[in-house]
């Protein structure tokens, strides 16, 4: 009788069936046994639990039927972990099988044993494994090589103790290429969890062996070997060339992973080749066809290839510069392929091919997929900015698109036209009329904001600019912040250009922004404009209508050091995500950053975007906007714990954060407010007239949007000084933080802090050279900043800094430098130069370093001043979890030049009245309320600042 092929899949494992299977497994008939094991495996594969059958299945292991044996092994691998004691039963059979005359069985046994992750079994594995690593049959050896990696995963120590790693290294010299490949693969995997173990000490001899094996092993083995080769640094350009020559044939492999790994090796090693070498040019030519071929593969392969090509194009645009057409988008490409292709098209766009590219982009802009269409329209704008000669054509293409009246196309087009205006001012204003026709159809904030910016910027050429802007003003409060801010600025611009007709409009928008809005950004900006306009219209004009810096060419280039590292990781996940491997791959902690070798010609070939923008007009270093997180971090530094305990700093308090309002920025606002409302109140001198006013002017001039970041920070740092309490010196010095990571500093790492010592502000830095070469010629410079901080002398690094050397430097500072308001207030932009390059970073100094030693106000003066300040100017903040009494707090604060003028006790509350003086002679008064037994402090700061003419 013939049985129909049983459909194992549909079998349902209930207790009855388990019972039935048990009976079948213990049957005398071989055939029945095998069928039963098959049913068990089938249940297992779909995730059903058949572990109850463990002993019965293991009993079937002693068989000469290979299929049955394999099936039992499959089962064992799955369930041994849950039944470790039972698994021991299988050990004898394994050990016996490792001695079997059939190499297939020997290999199978050692392979399966390695997969059983049970400690007791691994003990028994060592001896058979040792034998198999030296087996006469290469099939067994190559299987055993992988088994070492498995064992290492289970018990790394055991592998090292048993000397398996050395045996594995010996296998690199094996006569069989498949064994070599597997040994390399196993070592690479082990090395990944041991980044510093130097397992793969590559030398010319091993490299030669690997290159020989490369030609003969399987496609997968070739990938392992190529990836391993990529870690090697050739001694000179001749070795580099000879390796390249032997790797090049891999570019013709059918397996795309082999191709990409070969590309990685070549991209890396060609750095060492002199550019005038003939071979260099040949190699460049050879790289293009395989990359193009990858794009005709399946979409998933294309995606990975495109992500990598994106890197290659940034590093060596010459390779693919003639291949623009292969990146043209087909309408049925998956969206992830389309977007990547578009990105590369823009990177390859040049004067030579721009006409083609534009025609394509225009075509894409009529496709169905909205996301893709939007990106295509943006791409046209990017082309205009990148290829100056094409700008005119791009603008006319965009105009054509606007004529289609497709809503989202029009909106995107307007956003990019704004950027084009920023790049080429006073060139394409003729199109404004067309743009204005579409005003009503804009419903996205970004497009509305862009349009408003255009109207404001070119108000003098638009006859009905006031009407247009007025129409937006009607729904002012329903607009998003972006639009509101833009509208405010645009109307102020309009007013400055046509003051006579628009007075009413500007008053309307200023009152909308300052009185009816809850948004602090908007209010702040409103007040600033209001004050500027009312005090000095000429200055206002200079500030608001100042010439803007041109926007840079390409904004989304990958930072050069990161790009170098990613080129070393072509073909990996890192290259797909464009992030360094250390940033995201689990278990690869401490991965060494790979660098391209012999990057002597680096400086010329890679112009860093930083220097590019610096050359673009302003001499200021690029504005690095520090994240608010840093400020909150400072806030967390509140360390008012008693000196005896060294516990962690108390957690942040929400009350504190909510109340954390910028002492100076916020205060100034209120003062400005005050000025407007009651002009008779004369402020003590012209507060900030010299220092702050100028600062305010500069910011909006730089960019109309720069005000979006809330001004805060002063107070946070003010409270930082509380931290000083525990220190013997008195003044609080925050710990050193890394300002310039080695990644960004081409190997130079700078960490530092600020301190006030003996009345002198010091910038204390630790410089570490993590690069391979000696660094010399250090110099430092600050950008203009809020308090005029400047170096009082040159940077004292007299001896050259050799690799891995660390040096501590203290730089004395003074406060007589040029002043410009920073955001946040205590931000300091620093440029450090050495023989390699100029590096920019920004750091924040604690406000406390600016409190001078003579900040103790006389009691009478204090009292009079305190009374002078109206109550409604007072702000209150709470500091929670401070377990100090008032006296201790007072003495500690004194260490940071915060002086207690008076103390009063009311209802069990201690009130401390304190004064401090900043280097620019601004006095700050504060009241600190401490309730015994309550860890919450209340600080009141009346917002009245008094300038005292010190000089």
């Amino acid at each position: 009788m013939l049985e129909p092929d049983p459909n194992y899949f549909s079998s349902f494992v209930c207790s009855g069936e388990i019972f039935e299977l048990k009976a079948e497994l213990n049957s005398d008939k071989k055939e029945k046994k095998k069928e039963a094991v098959k049913k068990v495996i089938a249940s297992m594969t779909v995730g059903k639990d058949v572990s109850a059958l463990f002993p019965d299945v293991v009993n079937c292991m002693q068989t000469d039927n290979l299929e049955l044996k394999k099936l039992v092994y499959l089962y064992l691998m799955n369930y041994a972990k849950s039944q470790p004691d039972m698994a021991i039963m299988a050990v004898n059979t394994f050990v016996k099988d490792c001695e079997d005359p059939n190499p297939l069985i020997r290999a199978l046994a050692v392979r399966t044993m390695g997969c059983i992750r049970v400690d007791k079994i691994t003990e028994y594995l060592c001896e058979p494994l040792r034998k198999c690593l030296k087996d006469e049959d290469p099939y067994v050896r190559k299987t055993a090589a992988v088994c070492v990696a498995k064992l290492h995963d289970i018990n790394a120590q055991l592998v090292e103790d048993q000397g398996f790693l050395d045996t594995l290294k010996d296998l690199i010299s094996d006569s069989n290429p498949m064994v070599v490949a597997n040994a390399v693969a196993a070592l690479s995997e082990i090395a990944e969890s041991h980044p510093n173990s130097n397992l793969m000490d590559l030398n010319p001899q091993t490299i030669n062996k690997l290159l020989t094996a490369l030609n003969e092993c399987t496609e997968w083995g070739q990938i392992f070997i190529l990836d391993c080769l990529a870690n090697y640094t050739p001694r000179d350009d001749r070795e580099s060339q000879s390796i390249c020559e032997r790797v090049t044939p891999r570019l013709s492999h059918a397996n795309s992973a082999v191709v990409l790994s070969a590309v990685k090796v070549l991209m890396k090693f060609m750095e060492m080749l002199p550019k005038d070498l003939d071979y260099y040019g040949t190699l460049l030519k050879k790289l293009a066809p395989p990359l193009v071929t990858l794009l005709s593969a399946e979409p998933e392969l294309q995606y990975v290839a495109l992500r990598n090509i994106n890197l290659i194009v940034q590093r060596r645009p010459e390779i693919l510069k003639h291949e623009m057409k292969v990146f043209f988008v087909k309408y049925n490409d998956p969206i992830y392929v389309k977007l990547e292709k578009l990105d590369i098209m823009i990177r390859l766009a040049s004067q030579a091919n721009i006409a083609q590219v534009l025609a394509e982009l225009k075509e894409y802009a009529t496709e169905v997929d909205v996301d893709f269409v939007r990106k295509a329209v943006r791409a046209i704008g990017r082309c205009a900015i990148k290829v100056e000669q094409s700008a005119e054509r791009c603008v006319s293409t965009l105009l054509d698109l606007i004529q289609t009246k497709v809503n989202y196309v029009v909106q995107e087009a307007i956003v990019v036209i704004k950027d084009i205006f920023r790049k080429y001012p006073n060139k394409y204003e003729s199109v404004i009329a067309t743009l204005c026709e579409n005003l009503d159809s804009l419903d996205e904030p970004e497009a509305r904001a862009a349009m408003i910016w255009i109207v404001g910027e070119y108000a003098e050429r638009i006859d009905n600019a006031d009407e247009l802007l007025e129409s937006f003003l009607e729904g002012f409060h329903d607009e998003s912040t972006q639009v509101q801010l833009q509208l405010l600025t645009a109307i102020v611009k309009l007013f400055l250009k046509k003051p006579t007709e628009t007075q009413e409009l500007v008053q309307q928008v200023l009152s909308l922004a300052t009185q009816d809005s809850d948004n602090p950004d908007l209010r702040d900006r409103g007040y600033i404009y209001w004050r500027l306009l009312s005090t000095d219209p000429v200055a206002a004009k200079e500030v608001v209508l100042a010439e803007k810096p041109l926007i840079s060419e390409e904004t989304d280039l990958i930072e050069p050091t990161l790009l170098e590292e990613l080129i070393c990781h072509i073909g990996t996940l890192a290259s797909v995500y464009h992030k360094p491997p250390s940033a995201f791959v689990e278990g690869s902690r401490g991965v060494q950053h790979k660098r391209l070798p012999g990057s002597t010609g680096l400086g010329e070939s890679l112009e860093s975007p930083d220097t590019g923008s610096a050359a673009g007009g302003s001499d200021a270093p690029p504005a690095v906007i520090p994240s608010q997180g840093d400020l909150l971090g400072d806030l967390l530094n509140l360390d008012l714990t008693p000196p005896a305990t060294t516990g962690p700093p108390p957690p942040p308090t929400s009350g504190m954060q909510l109340g954390a309002m910028d002492l100076l920025g916020g205060g100034l606002d209120s003062l400005v407010f005050f000025l407007f409302l009651s002009p008779r109140v004369q402020l003590g001198g012209d507060l900030g007239g010299s220092s702050m006013g100028a600062g305010f002017g500069a910011a909006p001039a730089a960019s109309p949007a720069s005000f979006s970041a809330p001004v805060s920070g002063g107070l946070d740092d003010l409270f930082d000084l509380g931290g000083g309490v525990g220190m013997p010196m008195g003044a609080y010095n925050p710990p050193k933080t890394v300002w310039l990571p080695a990644m960004k500093g081409k190997g130079l790492e700078i960490s530092g802090t600020f301190a006030r010592r003996a009345g002198i502000i010091q910038m204390e830095m630790t410089l570490i050279n993590k690069a391979m070469s000696v660094m010399t010629d250090f110099a430092i410079q600050f950008n203009r900043n809020s308090f005029g901080i400047a170096p009082a002398g040159p940077l004292q690094v007299l001896t050259p800094l050799s690799p891995n050397q660390t040096i501590e430097v203290a730089l004395p500072l003074n406060t007589v430098g040029p002043v410009m308001k920073m955001d946040p207030l205590n931000n300091l932009q620093v440029a450090v130069k050495n023989n390699i390059d100029v590096f920019y970073f920004s750091c924040q100094y604690p406000i406390s370093v600016l409190f001078v030693e003579d900040g103790k106000m006389e009691r009478q003066v204090f009292l009079a001043t305190w009374k002078d300040i109206p109550n409604d100017n007072e702000s209150q903040f709470q500091i929670k979890d401070c377990h100090l009494n008032s006296d201790a707090a007072s003495s500690k604060l004194q260490g940071s030049n915060i002086f207690t003028i008076a103390k009063r006790t009311v209802d069990g509350q201690d009130m401390l009245y304190q004064s401090m003086k900043l280097t620019n002679s601004i006095w700050v008064l504060a009241e600190l309320r401490v309730q015994a037994g309550n860890p919450t402090y209340t600080v009141s700061i009346p917002l009245r600042l008094k300038e005292k003419k010190a000089h």
């Binding site: 899949f9 071989k30 995730g47 394999k70 997968w220 071929t293 998933e300 309408y331 169905v368």
Partner: protein, 418 residues
Amino acid sequence: MIHSLFLINASGDIFLEKHWKSVVSRSVCDYFFEAQERATEPENVPPVIPTPHHYLISVLRHRIYFVAVIQSEVPPLFVIEFLHRVVDTFQDYFGVCTEAAIKDNVVVVYELLEEMLDNGFPLATESNILKELIKPPTILRTMVNTITGSTNVGEQLPTGQLSVVPWRRTGVKYTNNEAYFDVVEEIDAIIDKSGSTITAEIQGVIDACVKLTGMPDLTLSFMNPRLLDDVSFHPCVRFKRWEAERILSFIPPDGNFRLLSYHVSSQNLVAIPVYVKHNITFREGSSQGRFDLTLGPKQTMGKAVESVLVSSQLPRGVLNANLNPSQGAYTFDPVTKLLTWDVGKINPQKLPNLKGTMNLQAGASKPDENPTINIQFKIQQMAISGLKVNRLDMYGEKYKPFKGIKYMTKAGKFQVRT
């Protein structure tokens, strides 16, 4: 390396899982399902998806997602290539790669997967080695096994595993010795509105079916090898000989295999075998649009253009289409808005034409997008690049094999913009 594999069907059920290292919970696939939900089309699921502890790399084949789970830094292409190999192997073993076939052969599938990867490292992925290890299921073999109690797992170490020619087993015997080579070229092109070529390139392959006894050593030479400047070879091809003499010299695998694939780039002049005259227009204010499309042959060296199929995604606003084909039949799916026209063969004397009207929703405005026309066709006995095999010689064996070479040109992604 590769940790686990999940197979997921179109309705989102995980119907098979395989773990090569420790077990990874299937809940990891939830991240995949999220990505699947976000994608508008099944093809648009991104191939690499990060999760907090793993990476999911997937391919979609035959409406099944093959999702590999990896934990450490592994080349994604390595994983994708391996998944392709899994799909090919299933297809090879079961004829089709469908959910039903996989479920019916679940034990063989499991044995195969176990044989293909060891601890995440590829072990045996060559089809002929696998077939020696695990015999493909056939009705005959199932019957024989049931009667004799024999097994479908090979008892011997596959001979190819370690030899210098791992792709070929020893002791091959045939009564009819034959070697067939198919030169198949696919032409990818984008043609613009006015009929001029924006980009055109050719993806060519030479697929072989070699059934020769013993260890034959073949050489294949071309009339015009200079066309082949961007090639990928089967590992059996001796690269040095190709570099030096532009001759393909190889010991072939047994059975079907892809000898060579090549790419003729857009920089060379690529002949376009068909042209399309089209007039698809909508007028402002009218709820009707005109559709008129004519196909004709061009640069086909007198060969007939066959199996022509035209498809086009009409604008979303189109409700239905009333068209009149001069030959063949057309369908319009009012839901997906996909128009397909099965033309058949192009007769140069009487060019096929499809003409009529499209109806828009009443009062709807003129559609924004221009439909793209996708064309499929086949031309027998011609390689559009002009590639021609000069001769095929066999060394190493005494008998005289039967040799055959066929040429064919097909449309790949052949798109005409309107």
